[in-house]
Symmetry: C2
Subunit: 549 residues, 2 copies
């Protein structure tokens, strides 16, 4: 970083980071020509205007599994694939501002190395993988800021998961944006600015793994690595209509990931996949766990990836709302449509009564446990550089009753968390013996629910976390999948609805179909803690019920 | 508790608790006649002087498995077994002061109920089980003090593990002592006084599950429930020559257990078995996990008990010392003898270099994380009643650099803990690839080590925790098993030894064989985190190498 490391002017540090990003993008060749100006609201057609037919074919025509197949068979070179995704990622950057860095030279060198091997080796041979920036990465010139201005230029070591994927033959080629503090369900920082939704630039891409989402939503990536402590994989994946999976904590190692509040154990984040197809979710888990990461990171659960197979029709509980905030009409429609498809496929569909389970109480516990120091460490990092505190940072730290807890208060909230988790688990267990006729006799397999109160919000409006964060409180695995898009005809405002509380009013008043043009609507499948494999198996069953392969 | 609940005089509360204990013991019939006075140093012959031949047969002639077999076949009534163990427990109480309460009426009523069942049912049908007091227990007259005077008379709910064992047909008949604060490796409290070693009353029974140990060492129980956060199962089991197993945390539920510092998650305690035979350890685990306790307590790891079988000779690493404190001569001899037996049985025996792994550093982290509040909550509980702070309470809270940590200091120590754990795991993993000729090529299966620097210490001298607590820091499962007894001829003082540090000098100077007459000497088998089944399998292999069945 040279002299700027000692500068007090935060903008100078930002300039350094942006210059590094811009220099990495300037390497793209051939350079991108012919993009419209101004950019249209929806970025989906932009790749067609600048990429070659061959590049479009490579980046659009294959699932991850298919691409891996032709790479392994050497029907296509790693370098050609890599160059196509590098160029498409550069288009995505122009469209959505999703990159912190394009690894042009490094990726092409890696691709050439893989192409020169006598035999293709590794479960991810030649696959381009994009990575949320704060996961870090080894390399001679790699720094990781976590979008803190204070940390711009920060050096670090390797990342266990990335090392595993590298050993399996992947190509890292793009690093992606995240919001200030990592704790927004949008993606905006003073370092890289705002990342927007590739379907509608007036909407957020979601967050905190929003750079990944925007890149995936443009097919500038088909397989990415995100992280989730309150919705940070599921929310952005949902907002761009791709797949995302938050596993139970302690299945995937976060060793090497950079973040604030290291050593905090009240609520843990999880690393997980974001991808354009469902099969990639289990591929990610299988590759990560095949390496037995628990032999290096002993905090992990020793359990190989163990695919689950249903031997009877699923019993699905639908959470129509969470008892606090009513979902927007398109989300309610998505729930109805998928529930109907499941029922038509012979599954048992029951209601999940989140109101009785007091999700609001869950949030009161969770929000404190996100910031047991009252946010002092993170606010201190912001103050250190002098960068402005962004509105959604203030929202999550200053508007949720967060406090610097004494040790005994900390224990009290942890005990409340544990009691809440036990109550919830026992409620789930009790579904096996419930006597209500509609509940049947077997235990609920998964909950089908919204991953957000609606489609991607207008910017700076993602102020209700309950639809994702509740499952972080419980440490339940959750997968999101695309269902539909907002449709003005099908999804009118419900003018008769009377909001129940302040958050409900805020959310209700946000909705008008014309604000959400082209916005994807996704759903979430949630399972009991540690039942990761079952969640992905259920997702497969549900999608098959929806007529997907 | 009547009026004494509001009294400020702590001795009144103690009188109430002791009266309750004494009243429970007064129910024994026939009453115990013929015990010598004064009691001899070694209590092992006392049962013979007061129990009937039939009672001695029932309590001495059967392993737990054998007793379960004849109970299930109804070759003996539950009531007869229960009465025999109740009477023997009463002898143990006189000999060692190990009980907080004898459940005379409750146990006999339960036994009659089980005898009246048309068919014997449950994996533990008719088995008398003793329980460390702080685990709590349901019942109309049951209170649990955790040996805090402030909590005398405290009421509480049920205990998930006990409920499971109850559902499997056991009989609870005795509740046992634990030390003030639960954080001594001895057993002494202002509520019940001191529990002594059944082999030598001038020595400790160990702690904190010392009442269980003393009772088991008298065969006043053959199957008990203890808990371990720093050695509290393994140390007392070792000191009386019985078996004990500390599983990985989050395999056995502690739901319903009472203790101070609820909600603290820096270092967790584990519940586990203490028993007179090895097979009981896996029986305990199998019964506990067969109930799928994770369906009620979602903090538990979902993993049934999955017995492990070795398909090649074990690779055992012997920790000859921990790099801080040199074991006493009888312990060093036990290690040599068992290592030789393993080698003779064809196992690969290598050295474990704990000095290089800096166990002292481990203790510096661990001791802080036992008391993140500087011990304020526990000291406050003591102050509340006015009971005196015992020397070993002062030792562990006030002499180890314990402090009331700020939130950021807490995180820093947790991060240090996690880094230490990762370092240790990586060192273990590296044993598979070590190039030293003696290391062979496969990974070390288990570590064979001391469970204490020596046999049971004279009272108030258990001031070095490293041999057990280190494995709590790492969350590694550990089982202890009896090996030998102190032998003045074989175990002379090593007068040439020059202590390395203050603790080493304290420990070295403690040893003289004449202080340890008849004292059992045990060893410990430690495995990697979550490899609980492998540890018990290894224990079986080692004992077979020693010529045991």
């Amino acid at each position: 970083m040279g002299d700027s490391g000692t500068s007090n002017v935060w903008q100078e540090k930002v300039s350094w980071a942006q210059s590094k990003r811009d220099a990495s993008l300037a390497k793209v060749e051939p350079q991108l020509q012919g993009l419209p100006s101004p950019l249209p609201p929806n970025s989906q057609e932009l790749p067609k205007s600048v990429l070659t037919t061959r590049e479009l074919e490579i980046t659009e025509n294959y699932s991850v599994t298919e691409l891996l197949d032709i790479l392994r068979q050497r029907k296509i070179s790693v370098e050609e694939v890599t160059r196509a995704f590098l160029r498409r990622a550069a288009v995505a950057q122009i469209a959505t501002n999703c990159l912190t860095e394009l690894l042009w030279d490094e990726a092409i060198a890696r691709a050439k190395h893989l192409d020169a091997l006598p035999e293709p080796t590794g479960m991810l041979f030649g696959l381009p993988i994009s990575v949320k920036e704060h996961h870090g990465m080894v390399g001679p010139n790699v720094t990781t800021s976590v979008s803190f201005v204070s940390w711009i230029g920060k050096e670090h070591g390797s990342n266990l998961l990335l090392d595993t994927f590298w050993a399996e033959g992947c190509v890292f080629y793009a690093r992606t944006t995240q919001p200030q503090s990592l704790m927004h369900l949008e993606t905006n920082s003073n370092v890289y600015g705002r990342t927007v939704n590739p379907y509608n630039r007036d909407l957020t891409c979601g967050g905190s793994s929003g750079g990944e989402a925007a890149l995936l939503g443009m097919r500038g990536s088909i397989f990415g690595i995100g992280g989730d402590i309150g919705g940070s994989i599921r929310c952005p994946a949902a907002h761009v209509g791709v797949y995302g999976f938050k596993p139970t904590t302690k299945r995937i190692s976060a060793t090497g990931q950079l973040s604030a509040m290291v050593g905090k154990e009240t609520i843990l984040s999880t690393v997980g996949p974001m991808a354009v197809d469902r099969a990639s979710l289990s591929l990610f888990m299988n590759v990560a766990l095949s390496a037995q990461p628990w032999r290096q990171d002993p905090s992990l659960t020793i359990k190989p990836w163990t695919p689950y197979t249903f031997t009877r029709p699923l019993k699905i509980a639908v959470q129509w709302w969470d008892g606090v905030v009513r979902p927007h009409p398109p989300m309610a429609r998505a729930l109805r449509e998928v529930a109907a498809a499941c029922r038509n496929a012979g599954m048992e569909v029951v209601d999940w009564d989140s109101e009785a389970l007091d999700h609001r109480r869950g949030w009161e516990i969770l929000s404190k446990l996100y910031w047991p120091d009252g946010g002092r460490e993170v606010m201190g990092l912001l103050e250190e550089s002098g960068e402005p505190v962004l509105p959604l940072t203030r929202f999550i730290i200053e508007e949720q009753g967060v406090r610097d807890l004494s040790m005994h208060e900390l224990w009290e909230f942890c005990a409340q968390r544990d009691a809440y988790r036990a109550m919830y688990a026992q409620a789930w267990t009790a579904t096996a013996t419930a006597t209500a006729p509609s509940s049947g006799s077997s235990e609920v397999d998964v909950i089908l629910c919204a991953p957000s109160f609606g489609a991607a919000t207008p910017h700076d409006r993602s102020r209700y976390w309950g639809y994702t964060a509740h499952w972080n409180l419980l440490d339940y695995p959750g997968a999101v999948f695309p269902v539909t898009t907002v449709d003005a005809a099908k999804d009118p405002v419900d003018a008769t609805y009377v909001p129940r509380n302040e958050e409900d009013r805020f959310v209700h008043e946000m909705y008008a179909p014309e604000r959400y043009v082209d916005a994807p609507v996704s759903l979430q499948v949630v399972g009991r803690r540690q039942e990761d494999e079952k969640v992905l198996a259920a997702l497969g069953e549900i999608e098959r019920a929806m007529g997907r392969g």
